[in-house]
C-alpha cells in the first residue's frame, strides 16, 4: 500500500514538474539570451547559464538604434488613452444594464458578448479605409479608436459582472435621501466597485499594450511604432541581434506580468464572473 502511494506521488510530482518546466523553459531562454554577449549567443554547445553575464544587450536596447524609450512612450500613450476611454464609455453602460429596467437589454448584452468574437480581420479592412479617408493613418488616435473595438465590449462585460454583485440596498436608501443617479454612481457605486474597475482597467491595459495587428496596419512611420511592431520589425533588419531582441522582449513583458499578477485575484474573479460562471 505504502509503495503504491509513493508511486502515485512520483507520477504526480513528475507531471507537475513537467508543467513547471514547460511554462518556464521559454522564459529561461529569453533571460539566458538577454544576458549573453553576442559571441556566446552563437556558441555551441549552448549554455542556459551564460559563461559571463552582461547587461550590454539592455544597454544597447535602451540607448541604441532601437529608440526603445520612444517606442515605449508611444505604446504607453496609446494604451493609457485606450484604457481611460473605454472605462469612461463602459462604466455608465454597465451600471445602467444592472440597475435600470430597459427594453433591449438582453439584446445589447448578447451583442456585447458576441462582439468579442468578431474576427479582427473582418473589421480591419473597413476601418483601414475609413482611417485613410479621415487622414488618420500614422496617428495614435487611429490605434485608440481601433482598440475600442475589443476593449469596450470586454470592459462592459467585466464591469457588468461586478455591478450585478453589488448590493442595491445602499443605493436605494441614498435615493430616498435625495441623491441623483449620477451622485449615487460617483459616491457609492464607483468606490465599492473599485476591484472590478481595476480588473477591467488592467485587462484593457494588457491587451492594448500588446495589440499588434492594428498597429502593424495603421502605422507606417518608424517614429510612431508601438513596441510590438517595433520589435517584430527588427527581425529582418537586425536578424541576428537576438540578444537585443530578448532583452527588449523582457522589458516589454515586465509591465504586463506585474499588472497580471498584481490584479490576478481580481481578474480571475472578473473573468469567471464574465465568461463562465462556475
Amino acid at each position: 500500500m505504502g509503495r503504491r502511494l509513493t508511486a502515485k506521488q512520483f507520477i504526480f510530482y513528475g507531471a507537475l514538474s513537467l508543467f513547471v518546466v514547460l511554462a518556464l523553459l521559454p522564459y529561461l531562454w529569453i533571460v539566458s539570451t538577454a544576458l549573453k554577449d553576442f559571441s556566446e549567443i552563437f556558441t555551441i554547445p549552448i549554455r542556459l547559464i551564460p559563461r559571463h553575464i552582461t547587461f550590454d544587450n539592455f544597454k544597447a536596447v535602451i540607448y541604441g538604434q532601437m529608440h526603445f524609450s520612444q517606442k515605449f512612450m508611444n505604446s504607453l500613450i496609446v494604451t493609457i488613452a485606450t484604457t481611460l476611454l473605454s472605462l469612461v464609455l463602459s462604466l455608465p453602460c454597465a451600471y445602467a444594464l444592472t440597475r435600470f429596467k430597459m427594453k433591449g437589454k438582453r439584446f445589447l448584452l448578447q451583442t456585447i458578448l458576441i462582439s468579442q468574437m468578431i474576427p479582427i480581420v473582418v473589421l480591419l479592412i473597413p476601418l483601414y479605409i475609413v482611417i485613410v479617408k479621415l487622414g488618420l493613418i500614422n496617428t495614435f488616435s487611429s490605434l485608440v479608436i481601433a482598440n475600442l473595438t475589443f476593449s469596450v465590449p470586454f470592459a462592459v462585460w467585466i464591469l457588468y459582472g461586478f455591478f450585478t454583485r453589488l448590493p442595491i440596498s445602499v443605493e436605494e436608501s441614498a435615493m430616498i435621501d435625495g441623491c441623483s443617479r449620477f451622485q449615487i454612481l460617483v459616491r457609492i457605486v464607483l468606490p465599492s466597485a473599485m476591484p472590478g474597475i481595476a480588473a477591467s482597467a488592467a485587462y484593457t491595459f494588457i491587451s492594448a499594450w500588446q495589440e499588434y495587428i492594428f498597429a502593424l496596419t495603421f502605422i507606417d512611420s518608424q517614429r510612431k511604432f508601438t513596441l510590438p511592431v517595433a520589435l517584430t520589425s527588427y527581425i529582418g533588419q537586425y536578424g541576428t541581434q537576438w540578444g537585443n531582441m530578448m532583452a527588449a522582449s523582457l522589458l516589454v513583458t515586465l509591465p504586463v506580468l506585474v499588472l497580471f499578477f498584481g490584479v490576478q485575484t481580481l481578474m480571475v474573479k472578473g473573468l469567471t464572473a464574465g465568461a463562465v460562471k462556475g
Binding site: 507537475l16 552563437f42 473589421l123 480591419l124 483601414y128 510590438p228 460562471k277 462556475g278
Partner: protein
C-alpha cells in the same frame, strides 16, 4: 410624462457604448459584406459592382479550399491539444500539495505572456543551429527529429501551433480548475466507498461535473484560434508557400499585400459566417448556464 422622460434618460447611459458598437463594429461588418460584392481600389477610391463574381472566383479556386483545410487543422489541432493538456493539468492542481501558492503564478506564466513576445521567443527557439529546440533535441538523443521548423512547408504550421498551444492551454486549465472546485466532495467520497479509483472518479464525476465549462471554454477556443493571426504573421507570414495561410491570414495578405480589398472581403465574409455559427452556439450555452437568464 416624467416617467417616459426618465425612461429615455436611462438609455442615455448606454448610448456611448451603443454608438461605439454601431460605428466600430456594425458599420465595419456591413461594409465588409458590401465590399465583397465590389472591386475596390483604395488609391482611386473606385468601386465597381461585380455582384457574386468575387464569390464565384474565390469559392471555385483551389487556394480557398487549401486555406480552409489549413484553418481547420490549425483550429482543431490547437483546441483539441489544449483540452488534452489542460484537463489533467487542472486535475493535478485540484490536489493539495506543498508550494501550491508559488506554483500557481509560475503555471499561469504562459497565459500572461504577450502574444508578440511568445511569437518572437519561439521564433528564436526554433532558429537552426543556435536555437534551443534543436539543441535540446540533440542533447536528448533525438537529433533525428530536428527539422527546418519554420522553413519546411510540411512542418511550419505545426511549429506555429506549438507556441499557440503553449500559451493557450493555461486559460482552459484554470477555468476547469475553478469548475472542479465547485464539485461537491461527497460525490467523490461516495464513489470511494464504492471502490472507484482516481481514473474512474475523473471520468465519471469530474468530467461530467465540469462539462458545461468544457463546452464553453472550447467554443471560445475555437473562435479565438480561428481568428488568431499574430503568431502566424510574426513567425511565418503564412508561408512557406502558403503552407500556414489560414483564412484570416489570407484576408490580411489579400488586402494589405496585394491590395485586393474586394477579394479579401469575400474571405472575411466566409470567416464571419463560420464564426457566427460558433458564436450562436456559445450564446446558447452561456445562456443555459444562467449568465444571461437573470437578465
Amino acid at each position: 410624462m416624467k416617467r417616459s422622460s426618465e425612461k429615455l434618460w436611462n438609455y442615455v447611459w448606454t448610448a456611448p457604448v451603443f454608438l461605439t458598437m454601431v460605428v466600430l463594429l456594425a458599420y465595419p461588418i456591413l461594409r465588409t459584406i458590401q465590399l465583397s460584392f465590389y472591386e475596390y481600389n483604395l488609391t482611386s477610391e473606385s468601386q465597381v459592382f461585380i455582384g457574386l463574381e468575387g464569390y464565384y472566383k474565390i469559392l471555385s479556386s483551389n487556394d480557398f479550399y487549401g486555406f480552409l483545410r489549413i484553418s481547420f487543422i490549425w483550429t482543431f489541432g490547437i483546441v483539441v491539444t489544449c483540452l488534452v493538456i489542460a484537463l489533467p493539468f487542472a486535475a493535478i492542481l485540484n490536489n493539495e500539495f506543498r508550494c501550491k501558492s508559488i506554483m500557481r503564478p509560475i503555471l499561469m506564466l504562459p497565459w500572461a505572456t504577450p502574444v508578440v513576445i511568445t511569437a518572437l521567443t519561439w521564433k528564436w527557439m526554433y532558429s537552426p543551429n543556435f536555437g534551443m529546440i534543436d539543441y535540446l533535441l540533440r542533447a536528448l538523443g533525438l537529433g533525428s527529429l530536428v527539422q527546418n521548423w519554420l522553413g519546411d512547408p510540411d512542418v511550419a504550421l505545426f511549429s506555429v501551433m506549438i507556441p499557440t498551444i503553449w500559451r493557450g492551454y493555461t486559460f482552459g486549465a484554470f477555468m476547469y480548475l475553478a469548475a472542479m472546485q465547485t464539485i461537491p466532495v461527497n460525490l467523490y467520497e461516495a464513489a470511494e466507498v464504492d471502490g472507484a479509483g482516481s481514473i474512474n472518479k475523473f471520468f465519471h464525476i469530474t468530467i461530467p461535473g465540469i462539462l458545461p465549462t468544457i463546452i464553453v471554454v472550447n467554443l471560445l477556443g475555437v473562435m479565438w484560434s480561428l481568428n488568431a493571426i499574430q503568431n502566424l504573421w510574426i513567425m511565418t507570414q503564412g508561408g512557406p508557400i502558403n503552407s500556414s495561410t489560414t483564412l484570416p491570414i489570407a484576408v490580411y495578405k489579400t488586402a494589405f499585400l496585394y491590395h485586393r480589398f474586394g477579394d479579401a472581403s469575400v474571405y472575411g465574409v466566409v470567416i464571419g459566417v463560420m464564426m457566427l455559427i460558433f458564436a450562436l452556439l456559445y450564446i446558447q450555452f452561456v445562456a443555459k448556464k444562467g449568465e444571461l437568464a437573470e437578465v
